[in-house]
């Protein structure tokens, strides 16, 4: 496995594509390789090699272009490990011990570190919970995005700068020029997460994993980020894996949902079907949380179960 960290993943996405982010037709004219799923997990099992305990007991899903899959579960349910496996950044001594993951049609087990570098950022990218920890506090945020573009797309300094400002605008930051020259400490959590999303989409990945990307944010800011993800999906055909402890966040955005508990997928299906007819007690609990205590208490007439 390559010695890449989260940091390298988000701040230096790899890739060679040179089209602009808003290129018309990106969404509706996929090339031949885009026909199949961007990401496919088949019965993926992950084992901690130190304790020899299996931590993730078989996850299967397919992410086709423009689709959104949600994974719901508590911390420790294995949802983050599953994502990291798909990104090729499992922590040391964790290993995929069964099943397979295909990224744009290639079994990731066969990838060399060099090939991984090409795929990350260009095919698959990610944003995580605490945006501040993925940025260098001493470098202006714009420069950190421009560096990615310069290194990975080979653009000249000025072109990279222009492109970075463009990306900051694409993630709906109000004054992209101003934000470009600001340091991370000058930005709010919601703005930082936008900056990270800008970096993550800089080389136009086909899939983006958002792992608890809105958990630390205020509700209104969370909605802004979720709106942004939905917009990117519509506009560019970006496929999403949305990971959250909150079923409502996932329900809001995803076509399909997986409910994980203690490393196991206890429920999986079309979002509407899962909400309407949950099979597992744990899913029922997640639904009850909203129906009995949350806003849903007022929004919907109680359905007879």
């Amino acid at each position: 496995m390559s010695p890449l960290t989260h940091d390298t993943l988000t701040s230096r996405p790899a890739g060679t594509a040179e089209t602009t982010f808003d290129a018309p037709g990106t969404a509706d004219a996929p090339d031949a390789s885009a026909a199949g799923p961007v990401l496919a997990l088949h019965d993926v099992r992950i084992t901690d090699r130190v304790t020899e305990r299996e931590i993730v007991h078989g996850v299967t899903f397919e992410l086709t272009p423009g689709k959104a899959v949600g994974i719901v579960g508590e911390s420790g349910s294995g949802k983050t490990l599953t994502c990291r496996a798909a990104l090729g950044i499992l922590p040391p001594h964790f290993e995929i011990t069964a099943g397979r993951i295909d990224l744009a049609g290639t079994d990731i087990a066969t990838l060399t570190p060099r090939q991984w570098t090409d795929l990350r950022g260009a095919t698959i990218s990610a944003v995580f919970q605490d945006p501040a920890s993925y940025l260098n506090p001493a470098i202006k945020v714009g420069a950190q995005i421009a560096e990615v573009i310069r290194v990975k797309q080979g653009l000249k300094r000025r072109a990279a700068r222009r492109r970075a400002v463009e990306l900051l605008g694409a993630v709906r930051l109000r004054d992209p020029e101003l934000v470009y020259g600001q340091y991370p400490y000058e930005l709010s959590g919601g703005m930082l997460q936008r900056v990270l999303i800008a970096a993550a989409i800089a080389v136009e990945p086909r899939a983006l994993i958002a792992d608890e990307a809105t958990t630390a944010l205020d509700v209104t800011v969370q909605a802004e980020i979720l709106d942004l993800l939905a917009e990117l999906r519509e506009r560019t055909g970006l496929a999403l894996v949305v990971v959250s402890h909150d079923l409502a966040v996932v329900a809001h955005l995803c076509d399909e949902v997986l409910v994980m508990r203690q490393g196991e997928v206890v429920e999986q299906g079309e979002t509407r079907a899962v909400l309407h007819d949950p099979r597992h007690d744990y899913t029922r609990l997640l639904i009850a949380e909203h129906d009995s205590y949350g806003l849903d208490t007022f929004l919907a007439p109680k359905e007879a179960s």
Binding site: E74, S75, G189, D218, V219, T220, V221, Q222, A223, E224, L226, D227, A230, E231, H245, D246, L247, A248, V249, A251, H252, L275, L285, L286, I287, A288, E289, H290, D291, S292, Y293, G294, L295, D296, T297, F298, L299, A300
Partner: protein, 289 residues
């Protein structure tokens, strides 16, 4: 805008002076000179005995300042506070300490690990407030057990340390500890935010049960969704001011202030109508204008 909603009449209201908490025209400032910033402005809030009120606010809204001011941890720069009829507005630190010691007003904070002494057993944590009041040890132990039962915990936890409990169990112990002096008012600052779903549901259920016990509850939270189903009334704090107050149902179904509308439109729900991005966009523009 911040007076008691007429719909709250089903709550156990005694008379005009029977409020457990009366806050009027409260201003709080932090800092001095040019760095002086206003954290709360003109906050007026009236809480009847046994009432459950949710105070909703996001980062920087002043919600934690409100909690701390009402607990005497932050001084007010203007306005008045009455707790169970007692005017505490001019109280100094010693008088506040004395008031808290009497256990009329109690609090539960977000992080249960930090609000429980890690070196005290659960039994010691629960009996301590009573022993301070001069309750005899045996009587205190007895009450500790009964309150542990109220929060659905078993007595075998009594000789454990907080570190040996799960986050949800710890938060329930914090709730029991707040109740053990039989306060008139408990202020809960983000009581379920740090908990996972299973524990969140348990704590919310306990809080719901408490609504019939006569103690008034104030839930302070950034998340309208997490308190909507548990509160009789909701009040919304925005940039240091209360912008909307009403029954939970009225606030959720007919929000008046644009910020309340944005909050509601932003809170993820399972069965609400599909979120309208354009509407949220318009509200954001309206608020930032």
């Amino acid at each position: 805008m911040t007076t008691t909603a007429p719909e709250a009449k089903d709550a156990v209201r005694e008379d005009a002076t029977g409020s457990v908490l009366e806050v009027a025209g409260l201003d709080v400032h932090y800092g001095r000179g040019r760095k002086r910033r206003r954290a709360l402005h003109g906050v007026t809030l009236d809480i009847a005995p046994g009432e459950a009120v949710g105070v909703i606010g996001e980062t920087g809204s002043g919600k934690s300042t409100l909690a701390r001011t009402v607990l005497g941890l932050v001084p007010a720069s203007a306005g008045s506070i009455r707790i169970a009829g007692e005017d505490v507005s001019g109280y100094g630190p010693r008088q506040w300490r004395d008031l808290r010691r009497r256990g009329v007003i109690q609090y539960v904070f977000q992080d249960p690990l930090r609000s429980l002494d890690p070196d005290l057993t659960i039994e010691e944590s629960l009996t301590e407030p009573l022993l301070i009041q001069g309750v005899r040890r045996q009587e205190a132990a007895l009450r500790a057990r009964s309150f542990l039962d109220r929060v659905h915990l078993t007595t075998d936890l009594l000789d454990r340390l907080p570190g040996e409990l799960s986050g949800g169990q710890r938060q329930r112990v914090s709730v029991a500890r707040a109740l053990v002096t039989e306060p008139r008012l408990v202020i809960l600052d983000e009581p379920v935010s740090a908990l996972d779903s299973a524990n969140r549901v348990q704590v919310l259920e306990i809080l719901k049960e408490l609504r019939t016990s006569g103690v008034a509850l104030v839930f302070i939270s950034h998340d309208l969704g997490s308190v909507a189903g548990t509160a009789d009334r909701i009040t919304v704090l925005y940039q240091g001011e209360l912008v909307e107050t009403g029954t939970a149902r009225a606030v959720v179904n007919q929000p008046q202030h644009p910020y309340t509308r944005l909050l509601l439109g932003s809170a993820p729900t399972l069965r609400g109508k599909p979120a309208d991005r354009a509407e949220r966009e318009a509200l954001r523009a309206l608020l930032s204008a």
